[in-house]
Symmetry: C2
Subunit: 155 residues, 2 copies
């Protein structure tokens, strides 16, 4: 297979277990997610909200009927940039078994093209400071690490 | 006046000129915004979209009937964090004439309380790497600069 064989499409409810499995499959994700069968109802409720909001697109990458990548593309209306729309990407994951084959890169290029189609003036994302490989990956795609991403937990 | 005299409320269309004036009033903003009378229609279209979306709250800080601060609080549904809602803050500004009096801090505390009420598990924001004073400001409020914020322009 080549990355060009991969299909990108909106996620359905049936894709949720595959999506959560990928989100749970790293060090940070293991602490945050609960990947079990059946999935907790909270995942389905969140899916329904995302799916019914035209400013959110939960995307999966599929090869031969198997989901092996995901990202969440969102469009944020804003007063800044003369009332411009900014795109934001969250929860980017490629199944460990399929990493290193250029699929993440194809997925991001697809998202960039989609954001352009929808008239976004730019795309933003954050990535943990420790993920140096991810920084290089996004830099190769043209992203600039110009900002500090700050978070606070409310729990 | 003290920061406690400041009222926080949802912005109305009538607040837009004051909001755009504040957004335009710094080095980055000057290049991006067009503050003139009347404002370009694109600002009003963006306001209408934000105002009609329950996941977006455009907030102003008001003292004696005058708007002197603004922020855009948004709630992002997500599959991650077990289908949790993350809050995000964009476009934080305090009128230059009112800076250094603790208003920004009150505004952020208000937003944090609001995000808590709405059940967000955390808040995220990005700030330009060069804004060292802003980093310290957010750190004092409890934010941690754990992430790299990356952007790409599509124009």
């Amino acid at each position: 297979m080549t990355p060009q064989d991969v299909i990108f499409r909106r996620a359905t409810r049936a894709d949720l277990p595959a999506i959560v499995r990928m989100l749970a499959d790293d060090e940070l994700g293991r602490q945050r997610e609960q990947f079990k069968t059946p999935l907790s109802e909270s995942y389905y409720l969140a899916f329904d909200e995302i799916n019914s909001d035209p400013n959110h697109e939960l995307i999966v990458a599929e090869l031969n009927g198997e989901v092996m990548g995901t990202l969440h593309l969102m469009f944020l209306p804003s007063i800044s940039f003369q009332g411009g729309v900014r795109a934001q990407i969250e929860s980017v994951r490629v199944d460990q078994r399929f990493q290193g084959q250029g699929i993440g890169s194809e997925m991001m290029k697809w998202a960039m093209e989609r954001a352009r189609q929808r008239g976004a003036h730019g795309i933003q994302l954050t990535t943990h400071k420790s993920r140096v490989d991810a920084h290089r990956f996004y830099e190769r795609l043209g992203f600039k690490g110009s900002h500090l991403g700050m978070k606070i937990s409310l729990k």
